[in-house]
Symmetry: C2
Subunit: 430 residues, 2 copies
């Protein structure tokens, strides 16, 4: 054992506190795994008086000074958000420190530039904790499947929305009611926008797609729809066709006349209750991966929380520390494929549509003609009459999303259609 | 791009053939990921005439000559079995080649010596494909969870026995009948010993335990029971208590008066149908991991087959090739913890016992006294009377396995007990 590797910890909230505790508790194990002791050199926080649990001599408000200190080897960033995290990570990299981050927003927005800086400086930038908490996912995508071709990644990567949708299915509640319950129980934040509008899931989808398809995908490339428009009717309609509603992050390699591209989207969708993702409840996350040779894989575990996220941070910390001891940087992501991203309009999807129509002869023919006019093929139709009205429940085959949404717009204008009561995409049906 | 990295392929069966094909098909991707082209320098087989699909100039019967050739950088061993695989891998390592192997039997028997040789030579020895086929599992255990404390690994890691047990549950068939069906359909080999007697699962359990607990565990340290003694009655009794029978590989860190130790066992067990492992059917494998900070994780995917296994081999191949290009060896396993293995007799387990007893007053008291005499606590009892006989179905709390088996032996001698109709361990009940 030689001199310790010294870690600068940026941020000391739920995750940072757990990291600090685990580095202390598991000091002997970490030293054995790394080959040198690992110790915390300093903890940068905004308000030192709020952290009585941290030894006073470690606390500092000068984060920039800390990350560039000569006696710091590694930097762990668990502040979150774009600034000051970005500037601090940039400064750390330029000062020759390897960085472990749990910052999905930053990596999804600026991963390319940060990776370029890390490669130039010969240091590591790891961020397993940024997607799906404790679940080992980025390392398997980047390394274990490095000899395979990934076709598709589909995941439940946001626990708050998963909780809300589960409650809507269990109780028949609408979105607002279920959100209020989630907020009260602490499953949703006071400002739930990042979760319920899909920003959090979209950032994770961008990170997953970049690694899976060796292409630069940023959050702005991701088509994003949240769950606030999901109604109790949508959830009930899903149950009628043996499905459940989940907010999915979907990353696909899609072929086309102009060559391959990458389609990345986050939106609520109906999936069959027999699908492995359908059973994922509460705060758990799960990610399905389909690869050419490996076939179907699933990764499941806790997607959030201080301790699970800290576990992922520490796994990365051991890796970058070992690399530092070995005098080499580890494998970064590759972006050689440079696949373009495909807009949602051109991405093939399937719709479930529920219509209230007049119960007169020929209504189904009229509606079917409208689908055909947009070159959308119908997979199943169910018609239920009640009085002078009827309900048509239609599940389409796969078609470009623009054709599907144009069909819906046209249906809304048809005299025979009294109302479009539910429209939701469908995934995982054979 | 500079000179290619050259790979010696040992063995060209189902897995080797898939590796050869994928290295060719994905040449451009592999080169981009590694930083240098990767090409096959030679393929060692016993009978070159049986491999018309391989270019003749690559084929050789001189495996030892191939692995020590100066123009070979990396060796992929997919022969299986102990010899000649061991001698060839030893020779390759001594000649400075990094090695990727899919050989569970060899790694479980001789992993410590091979790793020591690899460390001494400064080369890599990777073997993701040896456990659970395509599922990224060893890398997550070794690297992603390197900062965490793994408590328990429980897996379904043998597809043949999983198929047989699934069919027994579905059809009510006995073991012999279900095995015959599996053999006919090609799910079981002509000599099914390695699978049905648990040797295959025990080798995988030894590899998992070594990595999870940073200790040297060999196949001979694993308590092993196969499924040939599982009866249709066992499967029916399991269903009655809401369970299903699975062959489990269980690796646990167990505390005790003499300090911590590692208990590793492979045996059939009843698990609740609601447990995530209960739904794993057919050729699929799944492994549950419980870690201190990460909580519960599950990994799921195809456990066998040429393409899935080749995917894992190629992931390792890219990793060792990148390390070669970087001029450094990757992280090997660590065995610093040196935890002793605990014999099954001292390992806490739970039993399900089904007894035919005389339906006379006091029988339950007599039986309960016998459990108490062995200090085994009973969790639940169900008594069904029919005529002058009754059935007692007992599920115990956790107790040392020796106390449980001694209780069963004593019950068999009791006059009031007409027969012990089913004995099976229970896992995953709360």
């Amino acid at each position: 054992m030689t001199a310790p590797l010294r870690v600068a910890l940026l941020g000391c909230g739920t995750v940072g506190g757990a990291v600090l505790r685990l580095v202390g508790e598991q000091a002997a194990d970490l030293a054995a795994r790394v080959g040198r002791p690992v110790e915390v050199a300093g903890v940068a926080v905004r308000r030192p008086d709020r952290h009585p649990e941290v030894p006073a001599e470690l606390l500092t408000t000068d984060a920039l000074g800390l990350v560039t200190r000569d006696d710091v080897d590694l930097v762990v960033e668990v502040i979150g958000g774009i600034e000051p995290a970005r500037s601090l990570i940039q400064a750390a990299i330029e000062a020759g420190k390897s960085v472990v981050s749990a910052n999905k927003a930053l990596l999804a927005e600026d991963g390319v530039a940060l990776h370029a800086a890390a490669a130039k400086a010969g240091v590591d930038l790891y961020y397993e904790a940024s997607v799906a908490g404790a679940i080992p996912l980025l390392r398997p995508l980047r390394e274990s499947l490095a000899g395979d071709q990934i076709r598709r990644v589909v995941g439940i990567v946001n626990g708050t929305t998963n909780y809300i949708l589960s409650r809507m299915a269990e109780t028949g509640a609408g979105f607002s009611e279920a959100l209020a319950e989630a907020t009260e129980l602490g499953y949703a934040e006071a400002d739930p926008t990042a979760d319920v509008d899909g920003f959090d899931a979209a950032a994770k989808a961008a990170i997953l797609a970049s690694l899976a398809f060796h292409s630069a995908v940023t959050a702005s490339d991701v088509h994003r729809e949240g769950i606030s428009a999901v109604t109790a009717t949508d959830v009930a309609r899903a149950a009628e066709i043996g499905c459940t509603v989940k907010l999915l992050a979907i990353c696909e390699r899609v072929g086309g006349p102009d060559g391959e591209s990458v389609a990345v989207r986050v939106h609520p969708a109906m999936i069959p209750t027999g699908h492995p993702l359908a059973a994922v409840g509460g705060a758990f996350n799960a990610v399905f991966v389909e690869a050419e040779a490996a076939g179907q894989l699933m990764f499941y575990g806790q997607g959030a929380g201080g301790e699970p996220t800290a576990s992922a941070v520490l796994g990365d910390l051991v890796a970058v520390a070992r690399n530092r001891v070995a005098g080499a940087a580890g494998a970064g992501p590759t972006a050689y494929a440079e696949l373009p991203t495909r807009p949602i309009a051109e991405t093939p999807t399937r719709y479930h549509v529920s219509l209230d129509v007049a119960d007169v002869p020929g209504v189904l023919a009229t509606v079917a003609t409208e689908f055909a006019r947009h070159e959308v093929s119908i997979a199943t139709v169910r018609q239920d009459g009640h009085g002078d009205a009827a309900t048509l429940v239609i599940v389409t085959h796969s078609a470009p999303d623009a054709a599907l949404s144009a069909t819906i717009a046209a249906l809304r204008e048809m005299p025979a259609v009294r109302g479009v009561t539910s429209v939701l995409r469908v995934e995982g049906l054979s």
